[in-house]
Symmetry: C2
Subunit: 163 residues, 2 copies
DNA sequence: GGCAATATGTCAACAAAGCTGACGTATTTT
DNA sequence: AAAATACGTCAGCTTTGTTGACATATTGCC
């Protein structure tokens, strides 16, 4: 298709640049999740448990449907993981006051503790990468990732504030 | 732990900044993979098939063991997916000339075609994000993701060239 | 030449985490 | 009173990872 042999071919550079981006995401995400995955395996949990614990910790008293909007999985898939976390005492459900159909979720002390341990390795990994890359690079990292994600979730990152 | 109420607390800002990074990665990766996943489901394949097709396309005549080093999965997991791709005519295996124990992998025309279709959506997504964010942001994006991944794979991104 | 190491493949069993479809209950909204 | 919503559950299926054991072909070394 594109004649790769032509020396200073902008199309080739673009193709190579875009493929590198794809691979950067793959390798970075693979390593980003690997440490927490290993810790979770010890506890008999998986990455899905971490995601639930993380976002419940991040948004205390979140409703089940809002959590589903974040995770973009089916309620049946969430249910299996969430039931285990409730059963094992990491999360408690509490009936909503305004809308009593809701089962609002929050971490127990035990849940907060495991969240801290699990996320700590990821935080340190990011912190090191941020420190080594510098503030300008961090701004670029944010801008590109915001551009990659679908618009609806971008607003979660407005002004360093929670939605 | 850290007193969140203190107004200009650098530790709080740092904590918020790091959590946003974690979430940026989660949301961006979730959406980055979703389109190709949907196309794959049509063909009866999954994300694992895409990864194999992608990296075989990227590194023609790659050995099975080198592919395993990239994917970091077990040979049994790879074998299942790879066998299907060979059976269905997307990949051919060819005995190595220097080391005849090797089964070097390359895409067939059919494999090249599906790789192009699958990766096209991802390339366009990245291209748009790159274009909107600008060259400096792209440099920052690369620097931070390189810092997040484990060192051994960083050399794959030296000088826009393949290893 | 012989033997250990390597590259690859395969069988079997299992687990995590996603999916669809169907159905039920409590509560709110219209 | 009826419809819509929030949530939960049962049942079955798929993809993709895991461990462990074992087999074959080939290479490298002493």
């Amino acid at each position: 298709m594109t004649d790769k042999k032509t020396g200073a071919n902008p199309l080739f550079l673009r193709e190579e640049e875009l493929r590198q981006a794809i691979e950067l995401l793959f390798f970075a995400y693979r390593d980003f999740t690997s440490e927490a995955d290993a810790m979770l395996a010890h506890q008999g949990f998986g990455r899905a448990h971490h995601r639930v614990i993380y976002f419940v910790g991040r948004h205390p008293m979140i409703s089940v449907s809002d959590l589903l909007l974040i995770l973009k999985i089916t309620k049946q898939s969430l249910s299996r993981v969430l039931s285990q976390l409730v059963r094992d005492g990491y999360i408690v459900q509490q009936q909503g006051t305004e809308d009593r159909r809701q089962r609002l979720l929050r971490l127990t002390d035990k849940g907060v503790a495991i969240e801290r341990d699990l996320t700590e390795a990821q935080r340190q990994r990011i912190a090191r990468a941020y420190r080594e890359a510098g503030a300008d690079a961090v701004a670029g990292f944010r801008a590109v990732l915001l551009g990659i994600m679908e618009p609806p979730d971008r607003s979660r990152f407005d002004r360093g504030r929670e939605t």
